[in-house]
């Protein structure tokens, strides 16, 4: 099995690469349409800002590829956010695969922005995925038709989404210790 990590321009793509390596899974970091087309599954990694990520994807013609693919896709953090219609971050039109918007945490509702640290996730589909995961985000989706996991920071927000071949998580499974490894194995098993 080969997993393609989509190089959407940000730094630290190795973090997710190393986590697959620890699970003995081959993954490849690439921004080439040809290479990514040959992969069994794709990961949209959690680095960068909405505007820059969308710009990179569009420059490499990867935006339409991701929209049309039937391969399993895992979007992490910003990689999940760009699956939605629109993000307030850089006022960005995103991929539009999931109806909904990404908004910024309001400083009035929360102790600090960004949300940085370990938060509890409750997963409606599979309670073996319940647990503490690592978050580092200033933007979030409140709720969507496809939200299957919730967390609370000030207010409740979507921490896991699932629609057809798309899985998204607002947290960083690659940085979430044992819970994160269970989450990633779950994704791998679905491929």
């Amino acid at each position: 099995m080969k997993i393609g990590i989509v190089d959407s321009g940000g730094a630290n793509l190795n973090s997710i690469y190393y986590s697959f390596k620890r699970l003995n899974i081959d993954s490849f970091i690439s921004n080439s349409l040809d290479e990514l087309s040959q992969m069994d599954a794709l990961v949209l990694p959690g680095v960068g800002s909405a505007g820059k990520v969308m710009e990179t994807l569009s420059n490499k013609n990867l935006d339409s590829f991701i929209k049309e693919t039937n391969k399993p896709v895992l979007g992490i953090c910003i990689g999940m956010q760009i699956l939605f219609d629109y993000s307030e971050e850089d006022n960005t039109e995103c991929l539009g695969l999931i109806k909904g918007t990404i908004t910024k945490f309001n400083k009035k509702d929360v102790i600090a922005v960004p949300q940085m640290g370990w938060n509890k996730v409750e997963c409606m589909l599979d309670n073996t995925l319940d647990g503490y995961y690592y978050f580092a985000n200033s933007y979030f989706n409140k709720n969507s038709d496809y939200t299957v996991g919730y967390s609370t920071y000030g207010n409740q927000f979507s921490s896991i989404i699932k629609k057809d071949n798309l899985l998204g998580c607002q947290f960083h499974p690659e940085k979430s210790s044992d819970a994160g490894e269970v989450f990633l194995k779950n994704f791998i098993n679905s491929i």
Partner: protein
């Protein structure tokens, strides 16, 4: 609700984990990869790798160490030490760090904070502050890695915290110098003063000696986490046991 974070810091000099008292007399206390792996297993919520020599000898933290640690651990990983520009930061992040922490280079060039936040996002940019109570004021010190280079910047800590937040810092590690390595508790007074105008997560550093010190700083201040070095390196406190202890005190701690 976020859990309170327990963060071991590897203070590294010349390839070894070292510890001094109030920034002086560094002694070797362990090997980098052994300790990183142990803390990861023991339930640390994050790991900080701090090359304390880097700013003082004008170098940048070794990316080879960053890569090896990043391959090993599955928790957030922050790297500090002599990161002076976008290129340095990108290099460290590409080798597997999740966040970069800057201290003296931010004092020399505050705009660096903004450049880093624009390029990598605020969640990636931690600013470390070495703050000392002197002449009835809290003052920021720079280049604290060596007693020969240490410098009083004349900047008041509170003003600096305002400035770095405006520039886009995503997190602050406040190292209370009067408490560094003396193990008689975190500087609750200073932390509470600084937290008053802090909208980003603030991590307490300096003074941990007992489990009760962690309990105190996490119950008497709004700090997002507590950082410590020597009590963990010397195995005076085991992270697993510490987290059990804090959980029993009804503090929100990750399992």
């Amino acid at each position: 609700m976020l859990t309170k974070r327990i963060i071991p810091c590897l203070d590294v000099k010349n390839g070894y984990v070292v510890k001094g008292v109030q920034f002086k007399n560094h002694e070797i206390v362990g090997s980098i990869l052994d300790l990183a792996s142990k803390y990861n297993k023991d339930g640390a919520d994050e790991l900080v790798f701090y090359d304390i020599g880097a700013s003082t000898y004008d170098g940048v933290v070794s990316k080879e160490w960053v890569k090896q640690i990043a391959e090993l651990i599955n928790i957030p990983f922050c790297v500090a030490g002599g990161i002076k520009n976008l290129k340095d930061a990108k290099n460290i992040l590409n080798n597997g760090a999740d966040k970069i922490s800057i201290n003296s280079p931010a004092l020399a060039n505050p705009n660096l904070i903004q450049e880093l936040a624009n390029e990598f996002g605020s969640q990636c940019v931690v600013v470390g502050i070495d703050s000392r109570f002197i002449d009835n004021k809290y003052i920021v010190y720079s280049n604290t890695g060596d007693e020969k280079t240490i410098k009083n910047t004349q900047i008041e800590t509170k003003a600096w915290i305002d400035q770095i937040q405006n520039l886009g810092a995503g997190e602050i590690v406040l190292n209370c110098m009067n408490k560094d390595g003396v193990k008689d508790g975190y500087d609750i007074t200073q932390l509470n003063i600084m937290l008053q105008n802090c909208d980003v997560p603030l991590i307490a550093s300096g003074g941990a000696g007992t489990k009760d010190h962690f309990k105190d700083v996490l119950t008497k201040t709004e700090s997002s986490g507590a950082l410590a070095a020597s009590v963990f390196h010397k195995d005076l406190i085991n992270i697993n046991e510490l987290k059990d202890f804090l959980r029993n005190k009804s503090i929100n701690i990750r399992y």
